[in-house]
């Protein structure tokens, strides 16, 4: 509970400001215009000269204040120059600003107000400067315009002054810590102790002071190892681990065969099939597909525990189930143990009014029965027959969501050589209990906030915890869509996460690369595997897969790996380092309980053998360094340094140490570690260090090198425990 020191709530009022700096402006659209609110005057705004970054406006407040909110005025009509995306920064000086807000405006004529960050851990901080940075306008090729700005906050000196004092104190304290760090690095013991005594400022957590003592001052390496060991056990390295990137580990699954023949007891090669996973029983279900020549109707189950495939049905049509098909979509209701399938692709030669009915089936796992839920969902108010759509299951409310896909039609009048424009299916909801369909969103090219553009080849996932559908990517005819939006199923509300600008390239997975996505509702992450480019010209022989993770809470993408090399240095690489070849028309499912992905089959896109399909089965685990690995790594670092120190004075003893103690900390099955280990003996032949670390010229070499090791080990500890990361010397520029 925060203690409220104020007697009454301080008044929040409009703050006076002036326009201090600007990046550019065009014509008569001067920066000063933002001080005036004239919504019916198209010229009463600031407009940048272009939309090339950086574009910004810096406002200077008349007095330092706690800036709590910012209000944007608008024009009386919608306008393409309105800011779809912008950031606001603030600070006491122009050079030193932090991000206070990242958001966007609606393209309408209403004023919009946003709260600005004005506290650091419950402590309010003041600003003198506010910087508004437009990033994107509603019309991507248009300039940025701001019509009117109001800032609101507290400027009562009684409130602001204490915050200014705190800010001042905070900066001074950090400055002292930097000095302490500098003094200690340079062994100015007296200065260090004197400063510390006088200011009583702690450089770091006591544990790290102890580590410094053992490592740098006493060179008691054994004691260091013990300290690190205890730290790892106490969970102090957990924060570091959670911030590390994942490493992918693929491994090909070779299932057990029940019979001797081997041919019939696992699914054959195919593309355009469907897989779903029942995480409770760790069973992967696979149905249908195209084997290069024809559609398939076989239905399989793979048990992870037994490592075995079982054929549930050779031909589901014979068991009142769906006919052979490919490019259908399935979803699993793990609660009720039922699987649904909708849609399929039909070659134009076999399309007619009969075959174009969109049949909809459900399979009950425990009863091993198929039920035809609808002969034609279009007749029931649902989607027409589609392919390359997406379908998701909401087990909690017993609903199914289907979005996108191209609608299959019979070829129309022959004299219209163009053919009709392709039609895409909208967003539908199926109420499983009531067996009714409802259209939630029609396909729309409008740019309204609730409008949704349909597409094919996109990814759609349902987050069972925050109850939203996440949709991204896809294609409409020749246009690749880069947008990313969420749909709140309970609130019937669309939220645009990103509208896909070119400026993001390299930072987000590119569309047009046959992506497959899965979701982990517990970690709130979306995983995307990108494979072959649909564009034959872009398909080089040495393009490999890339794997991306989207952190929903932080709204950020990170690339786990992007392997573009075909060079295989060592032909006898261990199986772990192999990965499935890039492909399309494959299937990827995710077991969020055990954190494993499974991939099956697909089309390798070999132009020389277009009918070839794959039948390989892989599992993917995303690994982060474990506690045990980090402990071993730290031990290795400490012993490696100890070896190097010994090598200067007692080379023979050092060699023995290398061969025994140091060797113990190396994983000799890892080629990188082994290689590094083999290069270490060169230290025995060096007379002195080749270079002096920058900034340590006046310090004893041993002391300097031990300090460096200390700095390395400190990085594994949480920031709240460590000394400041920067160094005083780094502030000096030439």
């Amino acid at each position: 509970m925060r203690i409220n020191k104020m007697a009454a709530v301080p008044e929040n009022r409009a703050l006076s400001y002036g326009v201090f700096k600007w990046s550019s402006y065009s014509s008569t659209y001067l920066p000063e215009n933002i001080l005036v609110d004239k919504p019916n005057d198209q010229s009463s705004r600031w407009s940048s000269e272009s939309n090339y970054p950086p574009q910004y406006l810096i406002l200077k407040l008349e007095r330092p204040a706690i800036v709590q909110s910012i209000t944007f005025g608008k024009y009386e009509k919608t306008h393409v120059c309105n800011l779809k995306k912008f950031k606001v920064f603030g600070g006491m000086s122009e050079e030193n600003m932090t991000e206070l807000l990242s958001s966007g405006l609606k393209n309408d004529y209403n004023k919009e107000t946003f709260t600005l960050k004005h506290k650091i851990e419950e402590q309010m901080f003041p600003c003198r400067f506010i910087k508004i940075v437009p990033l994107m306008s509603w019309g991507p090729s248009f300039n940025f315009s701001i019509w009117y700005i109001e800032l609101h906050g507290i400027e009562e000196p009684g409130v602001v002054q204490p915050c200014l004092n705190w800010y001042s104190k905070y900066r001074e304290q950090e400055a002292i810590r930097l000095c302490l760090k500098h003094f200690r690095q340079h062994n100015y013991t007296e200065a260090f102790e004197s400063l510390q005594k006088k200011t009583r400022v702690a450089l770091e957590h006591a544990l790290l002071t102890e580590l410094h003592d053992r490592l740098v001052l006493r060179g008691d390496f054994q004691a260091c190892e013990e300290l690190i060991d205890r730290a790892v056990r106490d969970g102090l390295f957990n924060q570091y681990i959670s911030q590390q990137e994942y490493k992918p580990r693929w491994s090909q699954i070779i299932p057990k065969s029940s019979k001797g023949d081997g041919d019939d007891n696992r699914p054959g090669m195919r593309g355009g099939h469907q897989m779903v996973i029942d995480v409770q029983t760790e069973t992967v279900y696979l149905f249908g597909g195209w084997d290069g020549t024809q559609d398939l109707a076989d239905f399989w189950a793979y048990s992870v525990c037994e490592n075995q495939w079982t054929c549930i049905s050779r031909d589901t049509e014979k068991e009142s189930g769906p006919s052979a098909r490919s490019c259908h979509k399935m979803c699993m209701d793990s609660q009720r143990r039922q699987i649904y399938t909708l849609g399929r692709y039909l070659d134009s030669s076999v399309r007619n009014s009969q075959s174009l009915r969109s049949d909809f089936y459900r399979y009950d796992i425990d009863g091993n029965t198929w039920t035809l839920l609808s002969e034609d969902t279009a007749a029931d108010g649902g989607p027409k027959l589609v392919f390359d759509h997406q379908m998701c299951m909401d087990s909690e409310k017993h609903m199914i969501y289907a979005f996108g896909g191209r609608i299959l039609t019979c070829n129309g009048a022959a004299d219209d050589s163009r053919g009709s424009e392709p039609q895409f299916s909208g967003l539908y909801a199926y109420d499983c209990a009531a067996a009714t369909w409802r259209l939630l969103r029609e396909d729309s090219c409008n740019a309204g906030p609730e409008d949704v553009q349909s597409r094919i080849g996109h990814c759609m996932l349902f987050h069972s915890r925050n109850r939203c559908l996440y949709v991204f990517g896809g294609q409409r005819s020749k246009t690749y869509l880069n947008d990313f939006f969420s749909y709140d199923v309970d609130g019937d509300h669309v939220e645009i996460i990103s509208d896909g600008t070119k400026k993001d390239s390299g930072m987000v997975p590119m569309t047009g690369f046959t992506q497959r996505a899965t979701i982990d509702p517990e970690l709130s992450e979306i995983h995307v595997l990108s494979g072959l480019s649909k564009d034959k010209d872009k398909r080089e022989e040495n393009v490999r897969n890339s794997f991306w993770i989207y952190d929903i809470a932080r709204n950020s993408w990170s690339c786990v790996y992007k392997n573009d090399q075909a060079v295989k240095e060592n032909p006898a690489k261990s199986l772990q380092e192999e990965e499935p070849c890039p492909r399309f028309a494959h299937q990827l499912v995710y077991d969020e309980l055990h954190k494993v992905h499974y991939l099956f089959g697909g089309n390798p896109g070999k132009s020389c053998s277009p009918k070839m399909r794959l039948d390989d089965f892989w599992s993917l685990k995303l690994c982060r360094p474990s506690k045990e690995y980090l402990l071993r790594h730290c031990r290795y670092l400490i012993r490696k340094y100890r070896f190097e120190e010994k090598a200067q004075t007692e080379p023979l003893s050092a060699l023995k140490y290398l061969q025994n103690d140091l060797s113990l900390t190396v994983d000799h099955s890892d080629p990188d570690e082994t290689k590094e280990f083999q290069l270490l003996p060169s230290a025995l032949f060096k007379s002195s260090s080749d270079f002096i670390p920058l900034g340590f010229s006046d310090v004893d070499q041993t002391y300097a090198q031990r300090t460096q090791l200390f700095d390395t080990l400190v990085n594994f500890f949480p920031d709240s425990m460590t000394p400041p990361k920067g160094n005083l010397v780094d502030l000096i520029t030439l």
Partner: protein, 147 residues
């Protein structure tokens, strides 16, 4: 351009009323087919570096032509529209074949002079445009990567 009537019309340069930037150097004063009371300016070549599309396609009450507004790239104000797809009645009536329109309130027209500098430049003086090839109809190949 079909009829000789249009060849005698002046070529006008069109500037944006809001920010005075040049929108088009080959405009023609015309009337709206669907409502001949409405005067506007039209052009044949898409003015691609001066204006860009805003919003989405729409149709009006007067005819079924599919339209899309364009705005001046400099100031962002809507200055006219593009006929994305003409409706059959409009297509079959007498028209100048232009698909890019500017509202008369949004532009300031300036009559251009010919090479001599003495006479007004007429549309008949402008060289003919080459017929643009129809767009490639490569529709399929989408289905290739599905299975």
């Amino acid at each position: 351009m079909s009829t000789p009537y249009f060849k005698n019309k002046c070529v006008t340069q069109l500037n944006c009323t809001y920010c005075d930037s040049v929108l088009c150097t080959r405009g023609m004063k015309a009337v709206l087919l669907a409502d001949t009371e409405v005067e506007l300016f039209s052009t044949d070549i898409p003015p691609n570096r001066t204006v860009d599309f805003v919003s989405v396609c729409y149709s009006t009450k007067t005819c079924k032509c599919k339209l899309r507004d364009v705005a001046c790239l400099k100031c962002g104000n809507v200055v006219g529209y593009h006929v994305v797809a003409p409706c059959t009645p409009c297509l079959h009536s007498c028209n100048n074949g232009h698909f890019w329109m500017f509202n008369s309130i949004s532009v300031v027209p300036i009559n251009r002079l010919d090479a001599s500098g003495l006479n007004l430049l007429l549309w008949g003086d402008l060289p003919e445009l080459d017929d643009l090839e129809g767009e490639d109809q490569s529709s399929q190949s989408e289905e290739q990567y599905l299975r």
